[in-house]
């Protein structure tokens, strides 16, 4: 117990929250453009297996990340063609993509089942990582952890400080109006969807190359869905996505420590395992129940197919 113990919980929390942040921010951008892509779970899975395969064969984790990203983009391109070009129902297309992706990743991953990768050395920020308690959690992490923080700032800055972000939000709020003042709604939505796919792929890559690091079928384990709900419960705001992701990560780690600590408690293990999901949903619902902020931040055209006038 003591400082070391808390420090390692903090460290593990940040690690567990990282893939959620990356995936959720990608989905947030997609949804801000008015597109509901429920395929995050499948996209993450395919990204994870692709990243693992490439990292395994090349021995280069960085190439693994790129492969995960590429696979994510391809998956979301499938979604885009179906939902944006062919104007199929977004919900159905996304669900299909999720089921397809999970299955596909299991199929591709067969030869890699239970193969382990060498773990990657974290990047230590000189001096800072020696700070007691917070040092390891904040300054002795994988590159993708730092990337996730940069991503939060970048996404927030893009959405609220740049014209391109304003256009994206406008498309999500009213595609008809955006079209009538001359913006290419479908093109912008494609860009947002592909970005979301790339981030989901990277999130998957983080899981298989850095987090575990091994391939096991079903290793994404619902994190894609959690990322989706984080976006909604965070009322489409990047900073709240981070809160939600770390909250989930924290509960996840805490329950694992409790289960592994040998302390005898009369709570079924399944209940403890469900805690992170329940706690995250509960807390986010509580902090975001103001209907005004929901109306102001949720993209009004979310999930609606855009059909320009003939």
């Amino acid at each position: 117990m003591g400082l070391n113990f808390i420090s390692s919980i903090l460290f593990a929390t940040v690690v567990a929250g990282t893939p959620l942040i990356i995936v959720a921010l990608g989905e947030l951008v997609t949804e801000k453009a008015g597109v509901l892509n429920l395929g995050a779970e499948g996209t993450m899975s395919v990204g994870a297996v692709a990243a693992f395969a490439v990292a395994h064969h090349t021995g280069n984790p960085f190439l693994g990340i790129l492969a995960g990203m590429g696979a994510g983009i391809l998956m979301s391109l499938l979604f885009g063609i179906s939902a944006l070009t062919l104007m199929a129902n977004q919900v159905a297309s996304g669900l299909a993509l999720s089921i397809f992706g999970v299955g596909l990743s299991a199929f591709i991953g067969k030869p890699y089942e239970s193969v382990a990768l060498a773990s990657v050395e974290p990047i230590r920020i000189p001096l800072l990582h020696k700070i007691p308690l917070f040092g390891p959690a904040l300054f002795e992490q994988q590159g993708l952890v730092y990337f996730s923080w940069v991503l939060i700032v970048a996404v927030a800055w893009f959405l609220y400080r740049t014209k391109a972000g304003l256009v994206l939000r406008a498309v999500g709020e009213s595609p008809v109006s955006a079209h009538s003042i001359g913006y290419g709604v479908v093109r912008i939505r494609y860009q947002a969807v592909l970005f979301g796919g790339a981030m989901a792929g990277i999130g998957g890559a983080f899981m298989s190359v850095f987090y575990t690091p091994m391939w096991v079928e079903g290793m994404v384990a619902g994190r894609g869905w959690i990322a989706l709900s984080l976006v909604v419960f965070a009322t489409w705001r990047p900073a709240r996505v981070m809160i939600g992701a770390y909250l989930f990560g924290g509960c996840m780690i805490a329950q694992m420590f409790v289960q592994g600590s040998g302390v005898r408690i009369n709570i079924p293990a399944q209940f403890l395992s469900a805690m992170p999901y329940a706690a995250t949903v509960l807390v986010l619902v509580l902090i975001s129940r103001n209907r005004g902020t929901i109306r102001l931040n949720s993209p009004a055209s979310l999930g609606q197919t855009f059909l320009p006038d003939a």
Partner: protein, 517 residues
């Protein structure tokens, strides 16, 4: 933008034709607009005005025809191209983004650098120069309809347009705001901007426009100089016959109270909604009471409270035919003899994908269409056919889907459906909104007949003209409160217009400013 006098027409279009599967929307339309000219495009609903404007603005492509812009032949494949040419459009249904601020909305439409503070300054300049006051920092959803229109206009003006298209711009404004808009438009025209002004309001066109092109059934039926015509002659060009005159009978001598609203206060949870407070109103058998007001001042909320879509905690707040119904569902209220025509036709007034017969069943099933819970299709179909015939609904028969009807025809159908149920109390929202002149006057006459036969009628409308034509008494709604009622013959458009900005005598508390247009 100074103009050289021997200039070619700003816009000249020839032989525009656009055919949709079921209808020829535009059939060989010619139109010429000179620099600095305010040109009216006049026509009933479905005459092809909107299609023509969408062609000019690049939203839809014509099948045939040519466009010339300042003498040069052009094609306009997209709204972006139209704006590059210098064409700006103010839509009837605004193309604004509610959750963004005014300056962000404007920035979206302006090419070039993304510098919001500088843009705010330019917005303020333009708004003072043309008398269009608006605060660039406010969020659009908090603006009144009139203010939103100003934002649309400012957004167009910042692009220095040489042709400005306005689609039914006054339908959402108080009379005072209309006058202000006209001043702005005249000022623009005097600076050389051409204006295409789409409307079906004849008096406005006479007052404002230099030239008019009249459309009917997708064809040009005439061009004229409005100042040399009378509303009557223009109406004849527009609908092909003289406008029937409404005869308003003697005001009723006060039958029993069919609808009583007492101290109705209802807070709303919708951040874009309006709180109702302290509303009192009585509607008696044999009278038509009108509620005037600029939209967004509580009409939606009041309607929901009356129709029963939003049940009230206070049972006494709404009483129908003497029964407290505050907690009643719409079905129970209808059982008491209330009929209701909502503002949105597709979605609330009718189910888009159901046939007309099925839509009849939804509210009129009490008229002998059920037998032990089973539907008597014959009776329902007969009712639908009667309704179609009696109200002259143009459609493909009782089996056509509701969404296949044009807005005006569907409205006639819905109003017909409710009227044919012989209601004791009829509540209508915007009964003639978007309905052409001929059909509107028919609907109004029908309402008057219904009133004479003893029905209590409540009409909520933004069209003052309409209220003055049919109502016995008028009240005004502003910021969720109701003014005292006025007998129609003892008041005028001027007074009601002032009341619409919340300034009636002994208005409870001035408090926060109402939605003034």
């Amino acid at each position: 933008m100074p103009t050289e006098t021997p200039a070619p027409p700003r816009l000249e279009i020839k032989g525009i034709r656009k055919v949709y599967p079921s209808v020829i929307a535009n059939d060989g339309i010619d139109l010429t607009v000179m620099p600095g000219e305010i040109h009216a495009v006049l026509g009933e609903n479905g005459a092809g005005k909107s299609t023509l404007m969408k062609v000019i603005y690049g939203v839809i492509r014509p099948d045939e025809g040519e466009l010339r812009w300042e003498g040069q032949p052009v094609t306009i494949p997209s709204p972006g191209q139209a704006r590059d040419l210098g064409i700006g459009m103010v839509f009837q249904h605004f193309s604004l983004f509610e959750t963004l601020s005014v300056v962000q909305n404007v920035a979206l439409a302006i090419p070039g650098e993304f510098d919001l503070p500088a843009l705010s300054k330019r917005i303020e300049e333009v708004s003072t120069r043309y008398g269009l006051p608006v605060d660039p920092r406010r969020l659009v959803h908090a603006l009144s309809v009139g203010e939103r229109q100003r934002v649309e206009i400012i957004r167009c003006l910042l692009q220095n347009p040489r042709l400005l298209i306005l689609d039914e711009p006054t339908s959402v404004l108080t009379p005072q705001a209309v006058r202000k808009l006209f001043e702005t438009l005249r000022q623009l025209a005097s600076e050389g901007v051409s204006i295409l002004y789409i409307s079906h309001k004849l008096d406005e066109i006479q007052e404002l426009c230099h030239k008019a092109t009249v459309l009917r059934n997708g064809k040009v039926t005439g061009t004229c100089t409005p100042s040399q015509e009378t509303p009557k002659t223009m109406a004849r060009m527009m609908i092909g016959e003289d406008l029937p005159v409404c005869h308003h009978g003697e005001p009723g001598d006060g039958g029993e109270v069919r609808l009583r609203i007492e101290r109705l206060s209802q807070p709303t949870e919708d951040p874009f909604g309006t709180h109702l407070h302290g509303i009192n109103l009585e509607v008696r058998a044999g009278e038509i009471v009108g509620i005037a007001g600029v939209s967004g001042n509580g009409q939606q909320e009041l309607l929901r409270a009356i129709s029963g879509e939003e049940p009230l905690a206070d049972h006494q707040a709404v009483q129908m035919c003497g029964v407290p119904v505050g907690h009643f569902t719409p079905t129970r209220r209808r059982a008491l003899g209330m009929c209701f025509v909502p503002e949105e036709r597709l979605g609330r007034g009718a189910v888009p994908r159901l046939t007309l017969t099925e839509n009849i069943l939804l509210t009129a099933y009490r008229k002998g269409m059920l037998f032990s819970g089973l539907i008597k299709w014959g009776v329902a179909k007969k009712f639908a056919e009667d309704c179609i015939a009696r109200f002259d609904v143009k459609c493909g028969g009782a089996n056509s889907e509701a969404k296949s009807l044009s807005g005006g025809n569907l409205q006639k159908f819905i109003v017909g459906r409710e009227i044919m149920q012989e209601p004791r109390l009829l509540v209508l929202a915007q009964p003639t909104w978007g309905v052409d002149v001929g059909a509107s006057s028919f609907i109004r006459r029908t309402l008057l007949d219904l009133r004479n036969s003893g029905t209590a009628i409540l009409v909520i409308s933004e069209e003052l003209e309409e209220l003055f034509e049919i109502c016995d008494r008028i009240v005004v709604i502003a910021k969720g409160t109701l003014s005292p009622s006025k007998v129609t013959s003892e008041t005028g458009v001027e007074e009601i217009g002032i009341w619409m900005s919340g300034m009636w005598p002994d208005a409870e508390k001035p408090g926060d400013a109402p939605h003034v247009a």
